[in-house]
């Protein structure tokens, strides 16, 4: 009898011990998290994500791999469809960001949550203002700020206005702000995306200090050299699934890159070998600095010839959007030259550029690609309504326009009941077909296509890719920007890889390129020599 009860106690003791171990080992553990959005998109599929106390844990993956969704679930901005979250050993239900904050989880968003005209001290204490009887004690706020800034060795001018601070310091305020609220876990969402290299170094120093003080940090990024420099462990996501969790020091950058980048579905497009002719677009030493003083586009030189498709591969946000916007004149103040048929476009208006048979598919369909409230017909003729062929005696020729639009709807297979419906009633794929119909039907000599198939169905994607090849065969020069490796490899004739605003590789024959190779260039592990890169300029 006695031995049975002894055994029983022992068992409980073991169970308590194992729970204790769990408490000590993992401060945070997300188990089997699945999140399916209402449109059926599976953002997270049975994701397990565990973080030890006092470590810097990297959460990495390509755009759309599900990092943001997982963090939104953790921070209470999204509710998971299934799965559990344990924090400090206890099962928790995080219903909104404030709950997360009270529990001790704080997040530094990519877009700062700061009020520009208020001072640092005021921003620091917002929501938990010191003072009695409804009054706000600014002195107290300044003191709190200085105390905490001294404690963590993160110097800041408490009385400076946020709008006068450089980005690195704004980020520091964000970090201090969540430290003031007594968090134990800090989530940093791509914190280095907005920083200059010097500011990044400074940030890493700060984060290491925080780690020494016992804070746990989740660091979201896709820059491998940063992760190598800073993090202890990493979890890799791809297509909503975890492809691995490991110690950073156990892996080479190549191995991490393989875990991150990969093709799950193979796609092939039949096409003949390109017959490049004269140079249409040539970009020379192009740079562009954003309003924070960051060099987003850095000394690019390349050219695109008639009859070839030049693909630009890269993780989103490495200067591709700014590059295409500069070529399409949606962005100004460039440094360097953009030449169209050997003539600079700097002084030309957008219409003048388009008159030279340049087409542009913007990655931002809603802002630049379409007029959201206008009809399909209006969207299609928006670039040609003023032309002679569509006008009769100072008025637009409604009949001619109608025929023209109906023809295009048929040719490009836009599924709609009428050309007079607002374009917002169409699905993403059909909307993009309207954009493509307009941009491809003007007999273009140069097509700039930025993420032309993002977020649209397989059928429409295939259609657009084939059209790009057809245009090439008809003698157009095509510049294809895409973060989709399948697309870049299959559609392009040659590939340029962009990383951190610079061109890091020129791969002459897209057919012989592997995704591992691309991954290493995209993530900044490898870089070609200047001689190799010079070949992309054909003059």
């Amino acid at each position: 009898m006695a031995s049975v009860s002894h055994l029983f106690h022992l068992e409980i003791g073991v169970r308590i011990m194992s729970e204790n171990i769990k408490v000590e080992e993992y401060i945070l553990s997300m188990e089997n998290i699945t999140k399916i959005y209402s449109n059926g998109f599976i953002a997270n599929k049975s994701v397990n994500f565990k973080v030890r106390k006092g470590e810097i844990h990297a959460l990495i993956g390509e755009n759309g791999a599900g990092k943001s969704t997982l963090m939104k679930v953790l921070f209470g901005q999204e509710q998971p469809d299934s799965g559990e979250i344990f924090y400090k050993g206890k099962k928790t239900n995080i219903t909104n960001p404030l709950v997360a904050l009270h529990m001790g989880i704080g997040m530094v968003h990519q877009h700062f949550m700061l009020v520009p005209s208020l001072t640092v001290a005021e921003n620091m204490v917002l929501g938990v203002e010191p003072g009695k009887y409804g009054m706000f004690s600014y002195k107290e706020a300044v003191k709190l700020t200085n105390d905490i800034s001294k404690k963590y060795n993160l110097p800041i001018d408490a009385e400076a206005k946020i709008m006068d601070l450089p980005v690195g310091f704004k980020q520091r305020v964000e970090i201090l702000k969540i430290l003031l609220r007594g968090v134990d876990v800090l989530i940093l969402d791509e914190p280095t995306a907005v920083l200059t290299p010097q500011e990044t170094d400074e940030l890493f120093k700060q984060l290491k200090v925080l780690k020494e003080k016992g804070y746990t940090i989740i660091f979201i990024s896709h820059k491998l050299h940063e992760i190598k420099k800073l993090c202890d462990n990493l979890t890799v996501l791809r297509n909503g699934r975890v492809t691995g969790t490991a110690k950073v020091s156990d892996l080479t950058e190549q191995e991490i890159s393989k875990m991150m980048v990969g093709r799950d579905v193979f796609l092939t497009i039949k096409k003949d070998v390109a017959q490049p002719k004269e140079t249409v677009l040539s970009v020379k030493n192009l740079s562009w600095v954003d309003k924070h003083g960051k060099r987003v586009v850095n000394n690019l030189s390349f050219s695109v010839r008639a009859g070839e498709i030049l693909g630009i591969a890269g993780v989103e946000g490495n200067g591709q959007r700014e590059l295409t916007n500069l070529i399409a004149r949606l962005e100004e103040n460039q440094i360097g030259e953009i030449l169209l048929y050997g003539k600079s476009i700097a002084k030309q208006s957008i219409r003048e550029i388009r008159e030279q048979k340049i087409s542009h598919i913007s990655e931002d369909r809603m802002t630049f690609g379409t007029v959201y409230e206008a009809t399909i017909e209006e969207n299609i003729i928006s670039d040609r309504f003023y032309k002679k062929e569509f006008n009769k005696n100072y008025l637009m020729d409604a009949k001619k326009i109608k025929n023209h639009v109906n023809e295009l709807i048929k040719e490009y297979n836009v599924r709609t009941d009428s050309k007079d419906l607002p374009i917002r009633t169409l699905s993403g794929g059909n909307m993009q077909k309207v954009v493509v119909a307009r941009e491809f039907s003007s007999d273009p000599k140069l097509v700039i296509a930025n993420q032309p198939t993002r977020g649209i169905d397989v059928g429409a994607s295939e259609f657009i890719r084939k059209k790009l090849v057809t245009l090439r065969d008809q003698g157009a020069a095509v510049l294809l920007v895409s973060a989709d490796l399948n697309e870049v490899i299959e559609v392009s004739d040659s590939i340029v890889v962009m990383c951190d605003g610079s061109i890091v590789a020129y791969l002459k024959d897209a057919k012989r390129v592997t995704e591992e190779q691309l991954g290493e260039y995209m993530l900044g592990i490898k870089k070609q020599s200047d001689e190799e890169l010079r070949e992309v300029v054909h003059d």
């Binding site: 968003h109 949550m113 700061l114 009020v115 520009p116 005209s117 208020l118 917002l126 706000f136 600095v289």
Partner: protein, 317 residues
């Protein structure tokens, strides 16, 4: 010319400035609070008209000044709350809602007046009360100064007190900090647990209260009765003063007084043989000139930003 100078550099003239600037100071302070909360509200005209009529009705029916002030305030704040409900809760367009409430103020007050008195023009048949004037002891005996700042309606002193109170509210209280934060970056405020809509409603509530005082001054101080459309654009001039003052209470008050002096000058000119249309135009011209000059200043600061950017660029080279 001599006549003009004599009438402008007189104590009566400066006394008049304070008298005509009073409603403008009130409404500019109301506009300031609401603007700090990030709301573009143009319904002050409507709030003031209803408050003006409410004060007259309340005091006439009960012969109690306090009840009059209370009813006027309730009228004005009600309009502000209707605006809040439509714009903040139902998400209707703020300009259209404001416009609708101003038209409601114009027509609704006349309707109420007609229902009560059978008249459509003024409330002179109602025996409404007035807020008393105050001769400040000691100061009233000081030559010149006494003549200018003593003997005003109590509302006038309250207006200047309001400026101080608004300053304290905006810059020295927790609520003020929260109003400023929801007005400028609601996401940031929300992320630290501040209730954005509630804070905005509170700013409109306070704005409605202050605008109501401006309205009641018109019918219980400036004039002893209510007349239709008696605000004649003061609600809008208050918004302009707020803009010209850059959202800073003291500067806003000074702008309101600038517009007040333009009105005072036009009062003086009316006694001369100048075309009355031209004279009446003056306050509005001053308003436009003021707003244009503000635009110029803003442009300059933009070019400053550009310079800073250039300097930065060169250091990054």
């Amino acid at each position: 010319m001599d006549v003009i100078f004599k009438s402008i550099f007189s104590t009566v003239f400066f006394y008049t400035i304070l008298r005509v600037a009073t409603p403008l100071i009130f409404v500019s302070m109301a506009a300031l609070i609401v603007r700090k909360g990030g709301i573009m509200c143009i319904a002050f005209e409507g709030m003031m008209l209803f408050a003006a009529l409410g004060g007259v009705i309340g005091s006439a029916l009960t012969q109690n000044l306090f009840v009059g002030l209370l009813l006027g305030t309730i009228f004005g704040v009600t309009i502000a709350m209707i605006f809040a409900y439509f714009v903040l809760v139902l998400q209707s367009n703020n300009v259209l809602t404001g416009l609708a409430l101003n038209i409601l103020g114009s027509g609704g007050t006349v309707f109420l007046l007609f229902a009560l008195t059978g008249e459509k023009g003024t409330s002179s048949s109602l025996r409404s009360l007035q807020v008393p004037h105050w001769n400040i002891p000691i100061i009233k005996d000081i030559p010149i100064l006494g003549e200018i700042i003593s003997g005003h309606n109590l509302f006038t002193y309250l207006a200047f007190l309001t400026v101080i109170l608004v300053y304290i509210l905006v810059y020295k209280t927790r609520l003020g900090l929260r109003i400023r934060s929801v007005g400028e970056n609601p996401q940031a405020a929300e992320s630290v647990g501040i209730k954005v809509i509630r804070t905005k409603v509170i700013s409109l509530l306070i704005g409605g209260l202050i605008a109501s005082f401006g309205g009641m001054y018109m019918s219980m101080g400036y004039l002893p009765f209510f007349t239709r459309d008696m605000m004649s654009g003061r609600g809008f001039i208050g918004i302009a003063a707020q803009n010209l003052g850059g959202g800073i209470p003291l500067n806003t008050m000074l702008s309101a007084m600038l517009f007040g002096s333009a009105e005072a000058v036009s009062n003086v000119f009316q006694s001369l043989r100048l075309p009355s249309e031209f004279v009446q135009m003056l306050p509005y011209i001053v308003t436009i000139v003021g707003l244009i000059s503000i635009g110029g200043v803003k442009k300059e600061s933009k070019s400053k930003i550009k310079r800073i950017k250039e300097i930065k660029e060169s250091t990054h080279e």
